[in-house]
């Protein structure tokens, strides 16, 4: 057993740090570290900087323009990005649709879409969920009927993250309503500018516009936008779900946010002393820090299985559950830490349109919105209850 990085890993980490030091714009870093909202331009700007370095496709093979990194290198990259406070590289193109295109798309699709994903030419969103389907994804109802060289798509998707910015959407659609529910589904790529598509914002608890409903009204989609075979979409969707889940626990960000929480708790006073010295509060923070330590070790254990080409299988479900629990505990303690200063709400400040928050506490201003927003994490991506079902069936065999 050896829990140390190899000399090669450490050299790799140094090169990542050097790149981040030189390339991460200060204004973007400030936004991330101060929990402000990122615009489309912020995210695209960072994506293009990373693209120029050739480091967007961290899970991609070299032949498609990926880095060909090992699981450990990817982990180091993700951890260093989190530490530095970079904007995210959105997963919808790079980590979700791209692996499906690589595995099941035709040559033309690969040649067209993959370079555009790497360069952020196309902003992708995911058309999986539907009203009423929830975690029962296969119950989807959006119809695609073949008419000559087109499909005519009718129906509705929901919870579509950042669809308001999207150029493309990858959708699961029902192409055979008479087949068993998993068997009549196809995987379609749809241009968001196609007539008949309407995007309606859904505003979250923090009053941010993050997700949307997407309506399809007789939308004409060329047949060449079908991935793989008709009615085999569920297979591709499952492939996607099993792909690229090493960073699901987001330990790097949790470590950074823990330091932020401690800073805030050191500055807040209780009985004339730093809140972090209050035994009751300190005990909660200590529990959380220990949970993050345990999660990091568990992630590294799963990663070492993955390096040995033995996973991550259902272990990813465990990382999702424990990772989101940690994230939610962090945001909960942040609100507790600032107490009454959680009350003032200043969306203008969060959008970066005002330099300081209206109540003059820039640390505290984003924390309640952050907490409310993060209640989503135990629901999205397959609710934590669904993840427990997966553990139950795949690991425990019940």
């Amino acid at each position: 057993m050896d829990l140390n990085y190899t000399a090669d890993d450490l050299a790799f980490r140094d090169s990542v740090r050097a790149f981040l030091d030189a390339s991460l714009p200060k204004d973007l870093q400030d936004k991330v570290l101060n929990h402000k909202r990122l615009s489309k331009e912020d995210i695209v700007r960072w994506h293009k900087i990373v693209a120029k370095q050739g480091w967007v496709g961290t899970g991609w093979p070299v032949e498609h323009g990926g880095t060909g990194w090992s699981p450990v290198q990817r982990h180091i990259w993700e951890e260093e990005c989190a530490r530095a406070g970079t904007p995210p590289i959105l997963p919808f193109g790079v980590n979700m649709v791209a692996p499906v295109i690589m595995a099941f798309g035709n040559e033309a699709q690969k040649r067209h879409y993959l370079p555009r994903i790497l360069s952020c030419e196309d902003w992708w969103c995911q058309g999986y969920s539907e009203p009423g389907s929830g975690s029962d994804l296969a119950s989807l109802k959006t119809r695609a009927e073949r008419q000559g060289d087109h499909y005519i798509v009718n129906g509705q998707k929901t919870w579509t993250t950042l669809a308001q910015h999207a150029d493309m959407i990858f959708c699961l659609v029902r192409t055979d309503p008479n087949a068993r529910k998993q068997e009549g589904i196809s995987f379609l790529l749809i241009d968001m500018k196609t007539p008949g598509i309407t995007v309606r914002p859904i505003i979250m608890l923090d009053e941010d516009h993050e997700v949307n409903e997407v309506f399809f009204d007789n939308v004409k989609v060329p047949v060449q936008n079908l991935i793989g075979e008709e009615n085999k979409g569920w297979t591709y969707a499952k492939y996607l779900l099993g792909h690229e889940r090493t960073n699901i626990a987001a330990v790097g960000r949790a470590k950074r946010e823990l330091l932020f929480l401690k800073r805030v708790a050191n500055e807040q006073r209780k009985n004339g002393k730093p809140l972090l010295e209050d035994p009751v509060f300190a005990s909660k923070v200590a529990s959380l820090e220990i949970e993050i330590m345990a999660l990091e070790m568990t992630v590294l254990r799963v990663l070492s299985l993955e390096s040995a080409k033995r996973g991550p299988g259902p272990e990813a479900s465990m990382l999702k559950v424990k990772g989101t629990e940690v994230q939610q505990m962090l945001t909960e303690l942040m609100v507790e830490a600032v107490g009454p200063y959680a009350l003032p709400f200043d969306a203008t400040y969060l959008e970066g349109e005002r330099e300081h928050s209206i109540a003059q506490d820039d640390d505290a201003a984003p924390l309640a919105p952050y907490y409310f927003n993060y209640r989503k994490t135990s629901i999205y991506g397959g609710s934590n209850e669904i993840q427990k079902n997966i553990i139950t069936q795949m690991i425990l065999g019940l």
Binding site: M1, L3, L259, K262, V285, S287, E289, I290, A294, K388
Partner: protein, 379 residues
């Protein structure tokens, strides 16, 4: 980075498991527990034969110089098998001898299985603060005279020699002025009250009245025992963490088996989602516990005491939480059977609960973790 255990470690684990399965069945263990001695000479002989007593001892004294990772592998198996022999107590005692230095002869006896040890540290008022020592060792010519009472000394009644913490100076709750001694259990003035613990192990309350000790009984330097005491008990806590992981493995396996076989309303109860989700949580708790037990085993030998305290306390606290969840849920999922004394699962639950209150419980270690200087570091 790799998390694999070595072939030798796997062989140790396999040998132990075969012995437990074959010769240390639950029924046999029950007989041992209810025997007058509460431990088995035969089982001890087998542990010695399997090399377990030699494992932690340095090679120069006839041992295998096993690391904390080696010991983790062993303790997991003992935890799984609910072994009640005085192995942990002896290894903990040996750790004091190793850290103090100059105890080669005794360590050779430990390696050969001829010497059983116990660490007599706690007192009525001390709870988990091992520096809170009222027992005194007063200078007497070349030697010392020992007076005081130690409580709930794990396997104190089975030990040949005792490692005793005593005050040679400073106030009752100071970390300075603490000295450590090796005292033969049959020395004049030592009286032991040996009893069964609720988890089937043994412990003793031990009184020392005017026990005469030669200068050679002193471990390390006079008045400077605290560093050794703290490092040794951190090592002990790490072993307990590993034992707890083994106990959780056994408990989860038994519970899973029960969910698959016990029928109610015409189906195995494992078909009910309310129960499935708890089983999934038990599994995750065990994996988080295993991560922390591993981390502690890697870091307990760290040359940086703050790093050692921080990691060991993190592990003991997290494992205490996991053990409580896994233990309580296992009993609940076993239904009425779970609250009887007939099931091994119930005994794993009892052992897990007692591990939490040995060498510092969850709250104690959370507070100790938060008291390390590194805890207050922030962004």
């Amino acid at each position: 980075m790799n998390f694999n255990i070595t072939q030798e470690q796997q062989q140790f684990a396999d040998a132990l498991r075969r012995w437990v399965d074959k010769d240390y069945s639950f029924e046999h263990r029950n007989k041992i527990i209810h025997s007058e001695q509460g431990v088995s000479g035969e089982a001890w002989a087998t542990l010695v034969e399997l090399g377990m007593t030699a494992l932690p001892v340095p090679e120069e004294q006839g041992g295998f110089n096993g690391s904390a990772i080696d010991m983790m592998v062993v303790m997991q198996e003992l935890g799984r098998g609910l072994v009640v022999e005085p192995y942990f107590a002896t290894v903990l005692g040996a750790q004091f001898l190793k850290l103090a230095g100059g105890q080669e002869a005794l360590l050779e006896q430990v390696a050969g299985g001829e010497l059983k040890l116990a660490a007599a540290l706690g007192e009525k008022q001390s709870r988990y603060e091992m520096f809170d020592i009222a027992t005194t060792a007063k200078k007497n010519g070349d030697g010392y005279v020992l007076n005081g009472t130690k409580t709930v000394v794990i396997h104190g009644g089975q030990a040949d020699k005792l490692i005793v913490s005593a005050r040679t100076g400073s106030g009752q709750r100071d970390t300075s002025g603490i000295s450590l001694f090796v005292v033969p259990a049959d020395a004049a003035g030592v009286s032991r009250r040996d009893y069964r613990t609720i988890d089937g192990q043994r412990a003793a309350d031990i009184t020392f009245s005017n026990v005469q000790m030669p200068a050679s009984a002193l471990l390390g330097k006079e008045g400077a025992g605290w560093d050794i005491l703290e490092a040794a008990t951190d090592y002990g806590a790490t072993l307990l963490c590993a034992e707890a992981v083994g106990a959780m493995e056994a408990l989860n396996a038994a519970t899973l088996e029960y969910l698959k076989t016990r029928q109610q309303f015409g189906v195995p109860i494992g078909k009910f989602q309310a129960l499935q989700h708890r089983m999934a949580e038990m599994f995750m708790q065990m994996e988080q516990a295993r991560s922390m037990a591993t981390l502690a085993a890697v870091k307990v030998a760290s040359s940086d005491p703050e790093e050692r305290r921080r990691t060991v306390s993190a592990a003991k606290a997290r494992i205490g939480q996991a053990a409580k969840y896994v233990g309580q849920q296992a009993v609940q999922l076993h239904g009425g059977m779970g609250v009887t004394n007939e099931l091994p699962a119930a005994h794993h639950f009892k052992r897990l609960t007692m591990i939490d209150v040995t060498l510092g419980d969850t709250d104690y270690h959370l507070a100790r973790f938060a008291a390390q200087p590194g805890f207050k570091k922030s962004a």
